[in-house]
């Protein structure tokens, strides 16, 4: 007798997002568990890990922010191949403010996040009308060009970069600020994207012309999404500059463009949680592979291909489906 797998959604009122959610503890836990447990783990991890893995956690959070920023853009239909642009812009702004004017990190990081966002948005504004792959090409080329520009004009330290940034006073502050920022971005922007505002953004991705027909100014919405995403990226860059106490040409490196995309692809694009999950898998993995040197980039490449071909929905959506559905084998009537 041939069998097939039957999938049934769990019949819980909570899934309708209604007031029924408050009916029973079971259902409230069912809803809250997947949200609170990761938050709890994130807050607890810095206390449990050794000094080396704390640093890894820090870069996990930074890459998670970049991946979130990539995903917000992707959900608006703008595929960025150059997150390094946002990252590097934030890093250089904070570096310049701190190095030349000696401002403290409390001032430089917010300024870098906002100004970095504004500058990146302004840079990409002329190409906002481009769709699909044409937009991606521009984002791929901009960071490459900025690197060469810095190299050629020798501004801001040229190839050597700027050193001696003010470090962040304590490592606990360092860790909890970045983890807090990551969680705030994750849940805040997840909420934003599920609101009506987010619906417009996703509408632009699905069919920009019909959104245009509905009398909505899609360029204005795209600009806003771009500002949000580049602001997040710039914040990550600015923060890491103060941690490493250095800013230079490596901030525009391909790493900062590829890893966030890889994280979003592995974790599952379309929900910021997937991007974060991807960062939590890939960054520690690449740390473990650090001993193998250049081989880890090979692994990124292979990972990207395997996930794009075999599991295009990503890990997060896969787990989400398993969580929300019963599965059982049933016999097929012939």
């Amino acid at each position: 007798m041939p069998k097939r797998k039957e999938r049934i959604d769990r019949g819980i009122n909570v899934r309708s997002g209604d007031v029924f959610a408050l009916c029973s503890w079971r259902e409230m836990l069912y809803l809250a568990g997947p949200r609170f447990i990761p938050v709890f783990i994130c807050l607890l991890l810095p206390l449990l890990l050794g000094i080396y893995w704390q640093k890894v956690l820090l870069s996990v959070a930074v890459f998670a922010l970049l991946a979130i920023s990539w995903d917000i853009l992707a959900q608006t239909g703008m595929i960025s191949l150059g997150q390094a642009l946002f990252f590097g812009m934030g890093a250089y702004i904070t570096g310049i403010l701190n190095h030349y004017w000696g401002m403290s990190p409390v001032v430089t990081i917010p300024i870098a996040a906002v100004c970095g966002g504004l500058i990146c948005t302004a840079l990409l504004l002329p190409v906002l009308r481009l769709r699909g792959i044409y937009f991606s090409m521009v984002t791929l080329i901009l960071p490459l060009m900025l690197v060469r520009l810095i190299e050629a004009t020798r501004i801001f330290g040229g190839t050597e970069g700027l050193t001696g940034m003010t470090p962040i006073p304590s490592k606990w502050l360092e860790l909890y600020v970045i983890i807090g920022a990551m969680l705030a971005a994750l849940f805040g922007f997840r909420r934003m994207l599920s609101s009506d505002y987010g619906l417009v953004l996703k509408g632009i991705r699905d069919n920009d012309r019909s959104v245009l027909n509905a009398g909505i100014n899609i360029y204005w919405y795209k600009t806003q999404a771009l500002f949000i995403a580049s602001g997040i990226g710039a914040f990550a860059g600015a923060f890491l500059t103060h941690v490493y106490m250095f800013v230079g040409m490596p901030v525009f490196a391909l790493d900062y463009s590829i890893l966030p995309i890889a994280a979003a692809v592995v974790g599952g694009p379309g929900s910021l949680a997937g991007a974060t999950l991807g960062a939590f898998i890939l960054v520690p993995l690449s740390e473990l592979l650090r001993g193998t040197g250049g081989l880890r980039i090979v692994f990124y490449g292979v990972f990207l291909v395997i996930f794009i071909v075999a599991l295009p929905e990503g890990l997060f959506h896969f787990f989400q489906r398993k969580y929300h559905q019963f599965e059982r084998w049933v016999e097929v009537d012939q």
Binding site: L130, D208, G301, V309
Partner: protein, 290 residues
């Protein structure tokens, strides 16, 4: 000085065109993204080198063998990866770029870096044109490159296969109704693009040495030529490579070598922002911007 710059600019332009035509055939003419192009270029150079130095094959045999092997890799890449994500432009780009990344970095990891990794020139001689020394290899490149561009134009305009390549890019469904098996054609297109990349590598690499980093450069240059010239236009490839080639050589001579790359990148940016379909591209206005 000026005349020398012009001569070398012409050579540089033809090199660019030669680098770009394989990519143009796959991405520009049949609309299949192959961002592993630069990696395939380097891959073929290394396989030729290995055939020559490790196995001890004669040079022509090693070169032909590596061209065939690269075509096979391209075909396999299409059959096992690209076929499954056809039509999703972004997935195509990411998947092929991932493959390219893996190929290039594995060569870097295995330590294939250094001046000993180079291919022999065809004829070791040089002549003087307009008071400038030119080695035979560069002269050969100019001849082969010009012939290759003409062949590409003839192939895409006057052969059934070439017309099919263009057909699947223009409208895949209409092509299907006319009996063009788009999957088979796309496979051939990727394989031929890879083969041309391998051929270009065999001709161009003797001028320098083989390095993994070169793979990224080749990809960006091919991309630049295709975008500026306009996807799907052979005349565009020629014009764009001469534009970039001259701009690069002249900035190199009269400004500074730091600015060489910036010029071509800036050119891509400007063209993308102003006329995304490139100088000679057929306008598909609504597909590229809104």
């Amino acid at each position: 000085m000026f005349l020398g710059t012009v001569v070398y600019a012409v050579i540089n332009s033809v090199i660019l065109a030669l680098m770009a035509i394989g990519f143009n055939l796959t991405f520009g003419i049949s609309g299949v993204a192959n961002f592993a192009y630069g990696a395939l270029y380097i891959f073929s150079a290394y396989t030729t080198w290995m055939g020559l130095n490790l196995v001890g094959l004669p040079y022509p045999v090693a070169a032909v063998f590596s061209i065939l092997l690269t075509m096979l890799v391209g075909a396999a890449m299409y059959r096992f990866v690209l076929l499954r994500v056809r039509g999703q432009a972004l997935s195509e780009v990411i998947a092929t770029f991932g493959i390219g990344l893996a190929i290039l970095e594995i060569f870097r990891y295995l330590g294939f870096v250094g001046f000993e990794y180079t291919l022999p020139v065809f004829i070791d001689d040089s002549i003087i044109i307009a008071g400038v020394y030119i080695d035979m290899q560069r002269l050969l490149i100019v001849i082969i490159g010009t012939a290759a561009i003409f062949l590409l134009w003839w192939f895409t305009h006057h052969t059934r296969l070439g017309l099919a390549f263009r057909g699947i890019a223009q409208d895949e469904r209409t092509a299907l109704t006319l009996g063009i098996d788009s999957d088979r054609i796309a496979l051939l297109s990727v394989a031929m693009g890879a083969g041309i990349a391998a051929f270009a590598a065999t001709v161009i690499i003797p001028l320098g040495s083989i390095a993994p980093a070169e793979g990224y450069d080749v990809l960006i240059k091919a991309l630049a030529v295709c975008i500026i010239g306009g996807l799907g236009s052979t005349g565009g490839v020629l014009t764009a490579s001469f534009l970039i080639g001259f701009a690069e050589r002249f900035t190199d001579t009269y400004v500074s070598s730091h600015w060489t790359m910036i010029v071509s990148l800036a050119a891509i940016l400007v063209v993308l922002a102003v006329k995304p379909s490139g100088l000679f591209g057929k306008q598909k206005e609504l597909e590229e911007r809104i």
